[in-house]
């Protein structure tokens, strides 16, 4: 925070200096507006969502409004100053300075509040029904409870952002400049944090968690042009701090949900029980980015650019690291007066450390069917090599009539699109396997290939209007999905005498044998977009658009996913007289998705 205060002080000094400098020089100017006023707000019913970004604290009080916009200059400078004050949560300051003496700078601070809804958890209450031996309706054992430890709590995040950037020209080099900047965002307030304990029954507990998070970003760079080549290097360092301790809750001792017994059996299903632990933690993290980029002007042969980016991210709580190396290239050329070609290429590799998750053995006391080792090696879903490129051809059919054709190819090669849970192999489902066999967690390491074709036509209607039409077809081979989303293997014909219940003595989670794919990503997508505007008369103009998209995924193994979207809209601007101006508009968005849901098999 001290850095922000220091930089704000510098900004304030510069704000004060600018008008003084102008006065001293006697040759300056200043224009702008200043507003002073007041407002008062009041609410009825629930103000939280309707006033999602409004400071609700100061309602029913008269609050001062102040706005100042200055644009000024001296013989050696130009500057802008912006100040806004609405209430203590909603204010901003912005200052830009440009000098003829090689230096330019900008500073800014702004803040706003985000009110968040309160989940009262009222739906989280249930008790299982059962039947006794005589067929009578009786209470069952499984129960769900909730506890909201802050039932009157109001949750909000106060965002505060500060940035300061200074640039110094290097006059000995064309476009030469060194620059540095500091940015900070703080988030403070309270949020609702929840977690669940199922030692004996499902118990969702919610608490108010204080928010005190800060993100700091430092940037430094140098850029310039020598001959035909422009080069830029930039280093960015980002640190995230959470200054609050994670909230804690008590997890009960494991026991049978009905009679309170069987502690050993129930405890041995859990990683922890009878303990107070933190939850809702957000780990401090840091990120370093090096980026070097170069562009070469080849005159009539076009423009060539390339860049390399190296990123390293670290979780400071676990020391897990992630690294990204990205290369990009681009080429644009005007082939002749009517044809323009653009081509882009990008490849990057994202690699996050593996992490071995060491767990206690499941049902360790049961040496016949239990004592199973569920340890696993977490392979990050971020791990991937992405290679993509696209080519765009722009054809000028006639004056102000253009046809665009583009093709994009993207290949995403992942180490683990998803990672299945450790499975227990049942006899029958896997014939010949008649024991307590574990299959380790397996990553679904598949490759997604995306081909996208796009055709766009845009034209002007004389001097009075323009319109464009775009059609995009996307074909995706093996789109992102959860390969084990749902649908258990059938028990029919397994010969299993499965009756469920703890007494059976074996791992009975048939759900772990899920085989059905699930996703909301398409394997084929058609998108149509039409937009146009036209000036009906000197006093009336109209614009309209209509987008339609049909997505489907017919590569899934148990169902076909579909999504249809239609988005039309129309705007009318008219000025019936010199004194009256109207804008009217209508927008509509309709989306329908179809997905699959398998009935879960109940085993207990």
């Amino acid at each position: 925070m001290h850095k922000r205060i220091l930089l704000m002080t510098i900004a304030a000094l510069l704000v004060c200096w600018a008008p003084v400098g102008m006065a001293d020089d006697g040759g300056g100017f200043v224009t702008g507006t200043a507003t002073a006023g007041a407002h008062i707000s009041d609410s009825t019913d629930n103000p939280v969502r309707v006033g999602e970004y409004v400071n609700l604290e100061d309602f029913e009080d008269v609050m001062a409004d102040m706005v100042l916009d200055l644009f000024g200059g001296t013989p050696n400078t130009l500057y802008t100053v912006g100040l806004t004050y609405r209430d203590n949560s909603t204010k901003s300051i912005d200052f830009n300075l440009w000098t003829k003496n090689y230096i330019s700078a900008d500073f800014g601070y702004d803040s706003f509040i985000h009110n968040m809804d309160h989940d009262y958890l009222q739906n989280m209450q249930a008790k299982e029904a059962s039947v006794d031996a005589d067929g009578n309706f009786v209470p069952g054992g499984k129960q769900i409870y909730h506890t909201d430890n802050d039932p009157m709590g109001r949750y909000f995040i106060q965002y505060e952002k500060f940035h300061g950037n200074v640039k110094v020209d290097l006059p000995f080099m064309e476009g030469g400049q060194v620059y540095g900047g500091y940015g900070e965002q703080t988030r403070s307030g309270f949020k609702q944090t929840m977690t669940i304990d199922h030692c004996a029954f499902c118990h969702v507990e919610s608490n108010a968690q204080r928010i005190d998070q800060r993100t700091e970003t430092w940037t430094a760079g140098i850029k310039g042009t020598v001959g035909k080549a422009s080069v830029q290097y930039e280093y960015t360092s980002r640190d995230y701090y959470d200054h609050t301790g994670a909230p804690e809750r008590r997890w009960l001792n494991a026991s049978h949900p009905v009679n309170g017994g069987s502690e050993e059996e129930f405890a041995s299903r859990d990683i922890f029980e009878d303990v107070t632990l933190p939850y809702g933690q957000s780990a401090d993290s840091e990120k370093d980015v090096h980026n070097v980029a170069m562009k070469v002007d080849l005159d009539r042969a076009g423009t060539l650019k390339g860049s390399y980016t190296h990123t390293k991210s670290t979780n400071d709580f676990t020391n897990i690291e992630g690294k990204v190396d990205a290369f990009s290239a681009g080429y644009a050329v005007k082939l002749n007066p009517n044809w323009r070609l653009t081509a882009r290429f990008l490849t990057y590799e994202d690699k996050v450390d593996d992490y071995f998750v060491d767990l206690p053995n499941f049902r360790a006391y049961d040496t016949t069917y239990g004592n199973l080792d569920f340890d696993w090696n977490r392979i990050s879903a971020a791990n991937r090599t992405v290679t993509q490129g696209d080519v765009n051809l722009n054809w000028k059919l006639a004056k102000r009539k253009h046809l665009n054709f583009s093709w994009r190819l993207q290949v995403i090669d992942r180490d683990a699109m998803a990672q299945n849970q450790t499975n227990y192999i049942f006899d029958g489902i896997n014939p010949g396997n008649d024991g307590a066999t574990l299959v380790p967690s397996e990553p679904y390491a598949d490759k997604t290939t995306i081909n996208r074709l796009k055709l766009r036509y845009n034209a002007r209607l004389g001097m009075k209007g323009n319109y464009n039409f775009t059609y995009t077809y996307t074909n995706v081979d093996k789109p992102y999905m959860n390969p084990w989303a749902g649908c258990e293997h059938s028990l029919q014909g397994t010969g299993s005498a499965h009756t469920g219940g703890a007494a059976e003595g074996r791992v009975y989670y048939y759900q772990r044998q899920r085989y059905g794919n699930g996703t909301n990503m398409p394997s084929q997508a058609h998108q149509f977009a039409l937009r146009g505007s036209y000036q009906l008369s000197p006093r009336t103009s109209i614009s309209a658009f209509a987008n339609y998209a049909h997505d489907k995924n017919d590569d899934l193994n148990v169902y076909e996913y579909t999504r249809d979207m239609f988005t039309p809209g129309i705007n009318l601007w008219t000025a019936p007289s010199d004194r009256l101006l109207f804008t009217l508009g209508w927008d509509n968005m309709w989306v329908q998705s179809n997905a699959n849901m398998c009935p879960p098999f109940f085993d207990g």
Binding site: R49, S282, A283, A381, Q421, S543
Partner: protein, 328 residues
Amino acid sequence: MDRKITRPVAPLLWLLAVSCVVLLVLPPSSSMADTGNYVGSETCLECHDDIGPAMSRTVHGNLQAYQYPGEATGCESCHGPGGAHAESEDPADIFKPTADNGGAEKCLACHKTGTTMNWGTSTHAENDVACLSCHQIHIGTYGKALLKAPQEQLCESCHQDVKGKFQLPSHHPLKEGFMTCTSCHDVHSGNMQGIAEGEMVRDACLNCHTQYAGPFIFEHSPVEEDCRICHDPHGAVANNLLKQNEPFICLQCHQPHFHTILAGWEGDYSAPPGVVDADPGYEGLSGTSHYDSMKRSMLTKCTQCHASVHGTDLPSQTITGQGRALNR
């Protein structure tokens, strides 16, 4: 906390070496060698006296000699040599950059680095958007970027469907004035996603939502893939910018709990004393159940239990879940 500056030495050295070779081999840009009958800005302003005062209040009107890429300065740095036009006063004798005649090349003669370095291969350029589609040069308005209109108006004039989304109940605070389109998008970028060069989509989100950056032990794989699998950043009906409300957004990739097929007991209930006796803080737990209460509990909002849906380092409770249920 120890900080180490990352040193990707080999690739950087390689790129620097290539850069040096290119710098040494290539001749200077032709833009530095313009020839023609230059008359100076004073001559231009003798007639165009309406532009002069406004232009003098812009950065463009106050450039120093070293800031021009070629020998021409002032008006002629963009419009080319004005001798013939000054002589004839014929508009045809002077170059007037427009969106249609390669005006961008004039702008890019100076704006070679920074975000505009990527303009030539940007999505906007690809779709015939030109510098002058959004910027005006002679008058300093709408901030230092010399925009023709407030930023949101400019963007909405083409992206009208996006404008409508910001009116939905869940939206980023754009219409409230606390964000702008360029808070997330780099309009000059050559990046295929329309965000800053060198960044993936999730990086743009994590600039503000850094608490979800990780990398975490227990991940939710779509979070690593693309935030837009679940969220529509421009606006949504469901809270938290979810593309569909819970539980539907979750059920597209997950099967419901098997407890959802349980019939519920009709009546009030309370926790068995034997269960909570050892933890006195939990006595008195009670609830009211109905036939569909198991479903209502588990098919209303998945994140009531799976609260750490963006990833966590803290294991969830069950061994068979292998700690990865994102409950903590």
